[in-house]
């Protein structure tokens, strides 16, 4: 057992005693009741379970939670789907997902949202040429499975968020 402490969506949690082999996904869903992070495969293949991990240097990455022990997140700061909107106001990305009908069943949406948010933040830090945008979106999101939508509208939604503020994300 390990006493786990971490920050989720800006809120400190812990220390909480957890089994060393308890997955991060089960920690979020079973221990904390935060079921916005989904369980899809348990094999890091569908990526519906990814969360955003913010490192102290200011960069962020996504990480699957279904195969990662919860204790591997000890001391880290993460963001989940529950943390994107603030005070009832959706982010531009969330609004775009909704307005584009990007998802259907929505079970993969948390994973896509987190991955696309990290992409936006990366583009903001290191803008790219407009010509490379579609490929950048494809490479960022390609690991994520969606069984319903055929992906088209997810990609269009992310692209439109970028193109709505080209000076922020593009060279």
């Amino acid at each position: 057992m390990t006493a786990l402490s971490l920050t989720i969506n800006g809120t400190p949690h812990g220390p909480i005693e957890v089994r060393d082999d308890l997955s991060m996904n089960d920690f979020l869903r079973e221990v904390l009741g935060m079921t916005g992070t989904k369980f899809g495969c348990g094999a890091a293949q569908c990526l519906s379970c990814v969360v955003i991990v913010d490192d102290p240097a200011g960069t962020s990455t996504t990480q699957p939670t279904c195969v990662a022990p919860a204790v591997s997140f000890n001391g880290k700061s993460i963001r989940t789907v529950e943390g994107h909107a603030k005070a009832g106001q959706l982010t531009a990305l969330q609004r775009a997902f909704v307005a584009h009908y990007a998802f259907q069943c929505g079970y993969c949406t948390a994973g896509f949202l987190n991955e696309a948010q990290v992409l936006l933040e990366r583009l903001e830090a290191a803008p790219i040429a407009r010509a490379g945008l579609e490929q950048a979106i494809l490479e960022a999101l390609d690991g994520h499975l969606c069984r319903c939508s055929g992906y088209v509208r997810y990609h269009e939604a992310v692209r439109d968020v970028v193109l709505a503020e080209p000076s922020r994300y593009l060279l």
Binding site: L22, Q104, G106, G150, Y151
Partner: protein, 923 residues
Amino acid sequence: MQPTRRELFSWVAASGITLGLSRLSPAAALPFEATQTLPGRANAGLIGRARIDGIAKVTGAKLYASDFRAADMEGWPATTAHALLVRARDASHVYEGLNLDALPAQAQPTKVVGAADIAASALRTPPFYAGDLFCPIGQTPLYLGQPVALLLFEGFDAYDRARIAFREDKALVRFGAETGPRTGPNYAALRFTRIAGPTPEAPDIYSPLQEGWISPGFTEGGGRPIWKPLPTAQGGDYAKGATYGEEIRALLAADNPDLLVLDRAFNTQSVDPMFLEPEAGLGWYEEAAGALHLVLGVQSPFEAAEALDYMLAQAPATLRPTRLDLDFASLGGGFGGRDHTPFPLYAGLAALFLPGKPIRLAQDRFQQFQGGVKRHAFQMRSQIGVDRATGRIAAFAADHVLDGGGLANYSPSVAVVGATAAAGIYDIPKVDVTTVAEHTRGVPAGSMRGYGTLQTMTAIETLIDEAATTLKIDPIDLRRRNLLTAGGRTMTGNPWTVSVRTPEILDKLEAHPIWRDRAAKKAAAPAGVRVGTGVACCTKDYGTGADCSLGRVEIGPDGRVTLQADAVEMGNGIGTATARRVAAILGQSADAVTVARIDMYDALGLVTSGDPYAMTQAEQDAAAKNPRWVPAISSATSASIGAHVSTQAPAQAARIIFRFGLWPAALDLWGIKAGDPREFLWEEAFWQDGFLIMSGLPPLAQTAIAARSHAMKGITGAMAHAFSRWAWAQAAFPLGGLDWAADIDALAVRQGDGPFEVIDRSFVFFPPTDYNRIGTAFTSSCGTAVRVEISVPGGEIRIAQAYSVFECGEILVPELVEGQAQGGFAMGVGYALLETLPPFEDGPGNGQWNLGDYVVARASDLPLRHLQIEVLPPVSPKEPPKGMAEVVMIPVVPALLNAIYDATGHRFQSLPVTPAMLRKVIA
């Protein structure tokens, strides 16, 4: 407007158990205002154009059955226990029990439930799932993946350890002597034969519609049906049809130089629906109250309730609740795989055998592969005879063998639908199709998007392409020469009763640059790349022949609209589509929309009896004398019925509110008196930006009309039931001094703020029971063109460009329609090129399958920016919605196969076509 979390509708089933079904409202993670399924005022820009569940889905609200724990449920104990369903990975040896001694102490269950407990408790298996709920010790499992025991754990950690242990250690489930697989009778064996008359107008010489559906009744030693007519006195009906069928076979076998005959074998694979949310349920047996509470996620709530009731009906008092309270959540995908699934039975058992403690049963992905229903693998032999001079198809014959796995589930129905679709979009005067769904030791197969037609239309559409190549006729031209058009008879002898758009679809395909420029693209292929283009055109029925819709709509004095419907939200956007259809009638987007509600219609007092698919006309006529009787009360959300069926009752209810509530109020506001000729021109009025517009009269605000309607005690709420058996049931109701006729069979209305009161129908017409002989009456069509590029020598295939064109009548929500088509295209690509589950011991029943081995299409497998979707406009402004969610995936598969042939010169007749297979033919 926040709906209460659990509002229960109750009735007493035949068993005496009170059933309560309700819709579980989302539990929001964030303080969003208004109903959490609607955008809310803070996101006003999304109102009216977003999915009604959009906000909930992008904020992580608890929506799905897998999201809920005991602590989320009002009035439940706070702690959740966990259940593990252990399944057999062997179906050839005797099951000898669990080896729990080998399980670590920290992974020991509190309780183990097995076949002996089921037998001791007189718990019954519902007929639809006939077969033991658990394999008894001492018997060979009926199929791979059959449950052997349900392990109950009071804590999560022990459950979690045991879950992994059972996956990794085969020895925990003990098997003994080898017996070989168990055998079972075929689930269905049917023959569909039609011989057309000498002219299109002449009656058929023989058809299933005229003569009924026939089954041979005799089997060989190996279990296969004997299809040839036997010289026995028994089975005269079969012999008559089979004799005609054999004539068609003889025609195709004859040495006739004028007839091109192609005789091909096709094999299509088993696949998994692969909805992203594995099945899950939460239960609590509240012994003191005698109530079994369950949270479930299924496409068929009514069926789940009935199945649970049947299972429990004869149990002893200690295990027999007096009340079943069922809450239904949104689904993380369905695709048919959650329609009539036995999973709710096991969730119920988990709760019953750990009384007093909420318990969760949730499958992981390995378990979902092992236990979830699959698409049927088909073996098909198809023969087509085409007149060389005219290009007209003279005859078609096919033999289908379906692997149904170890439980019947929907195998008979899939066999029928696949067989009756085998002639595709064509007008063929002589058709003979046999189909048999076999019992095997495989994981049970059931409903899945495409429902048998995906397999059989892939066969016909590749055969047509081969015939065109052989006869040197343009493939689209050959299709055009043989199209079944409006009024023509299908292979069961009935015409399609809806618009037939295949001629336009073929025109669109022919004119599209993918097809038009195919030769130039092929000629311009770079070195190391083979380029090929293919087309296909298919049609798919929507509806099952006994489909229902329940809807309740109300308008407040402030103009706010609330609506409830019984359809289940599985990603298809049914709530959004219903809201749009109602908004067009009432001039206002709904302020509260709830789907999967079966608990709001008690005022209708509905009763039912008999089997709507099998009852006689006399039975129906007798039952219909009861004004509360309907052929069925609620349907599964399946068979592409969302737009056509599920929106029907709410839309009809809204029309009644408009006609008898808002319209009289508008007349009053305009000062139009009785006797004025404008009194009855209600159909000429229309809504625009919240105002009712009528030529020559001032626009009226919807809110003002609603307020006046309430003041006048007009009709401000209506609930209705609709039933379709390839035609709507129609009834008339006395309203406003008129006999109001509508495509519904039950109605209750509310006046002002008064209670709902049922209105007795003054007339009712239920579609004749003979319609059960129809194969397909409601159908919609789709065509696909694709261009592929295949690398040499690697065999990697890239879809360079694709185009799908289809029709769906009235387009309720264009974004949803287009999204379904995009998703259908992706699923078609997966089926044609990627997905496969081997049968039996190497297949999913072994419990070792996950997404590392089972390959689903990702974005990079698809032509995201080069996929064009076109939806034909409705044939008229009043054409009703048509189902389209299935047909959009079907032509993708044969179009890809035809394109691969064009690129390689090889026709693949086994799926999926992999790079390894391609390498062999392009080397």
